[in-house]
């Protein structure tokens, strides 16, 4: 059985607790890095991460990009979307096609 986690600052992720997801409030990038590696080793299939946190951990996210699990999915935090999630979709297209054709 796989698990789902939500990472980010306290206020952004607290609400997901009501849905029954594992919530991992993170205050600093170092904490986030540690928690991410720990969860990747455990049975987490999906990790939702706020864009605010993801912006500070680009190397860690790139590391898990080509792995089957976990899927790190960026979601907007409470401050709003930074556009990183959409930019990642664009990057994927550019990587595959060689140019952004959408």
């Amino acid at each position: 059985m796989y698990k789902i986690a939500v990472m980010g600052d306290m206020d952004s992720v607290l609400g997901f607790k009501a849905l029954g997801l594992d919530v991992c409030p993170v205050a600093t990038p170092e904490e986030g890095r540690e928690a991410l590696h720990r969860m990747a080793k455990e049975n987490y299939a999906i990790i939702y991460m706020t864009e605010q946190l993801a912006a500070q951990l680009p190397a860690e996210i790139a590391r898990y990009k080509d792995a089957l699990t976990p899927a790190i999915i960026l979601i907007p935090g409470k401050e709003g979307s930074l556009g990183i999630g959409m930019a990642n979709v664009k990057t994927a297209v550019e990587r595959a096609v060689g140019a952004d054709i959408l």
Partner: protein
Amino acid sequence: MPSTTINPTRQELTRLKNRLRTSVRGHKLLKDKRDELMKQFMDVVRENRALRKRVEEGLMRAHGSFTVAAALMSPEMLEQSLLYPKQSVELDMTFQNIMSVDVPQYHFKTSSQDPGEVYPYGFAQTSGELDDAVDAMSQVFQDMLRLAEVEKTSQLLAEEIEKTRRRVNALEYVKIPQMQESIKYITMKLDENERANTIRLMKVKDMILKEAIQEKREEDAKAIRTFASGSEAPRQV
């Protein structure tokens, strides 16, 4: 340009021809794979964009309500209300194979099916905005799971397409021309050797012939001399 050192031998030629045949076949297959992957990828990416837009909008709405709720309630109260979730999600993952790329498929099951059951707290001491926030989140949750699946798929496909594209290009623009060049070089070299051999044989034959004629002439001359001077014919000519 033929690669640095190739032996212009028949054995090497056969080997190269076999390799070229395999490469051309591989190139064709890889090209087909790339095209099909690309087709799948475009569909996935379109869905990915649409889903992401929807999820981001939904989550922003939820965050909006949540911020208001957080302002109305004390942080301790808020945390306490959400501390023990009623709902739990069980996630199951299977893999689907798209053109030899394993992509995840998630199936999830919530412990309770009733949508009114998501609130893990009593309504008396919490603000109504918190209900809105939780409601908005549970609505967007379906899309979030689908987004996870689609986004991971698109990332994995993108990686595979990149790899395949590189291979196709390497074969098409480097490996196959190189081999064709080498084959041409060996064929030319072998033909050249063949001609050289023929010429050498012709030369040798010429030399031997010339010698034979010379010998014959000398013998003739000797015979004529004996005949002219001679009383007796030689016993044998």
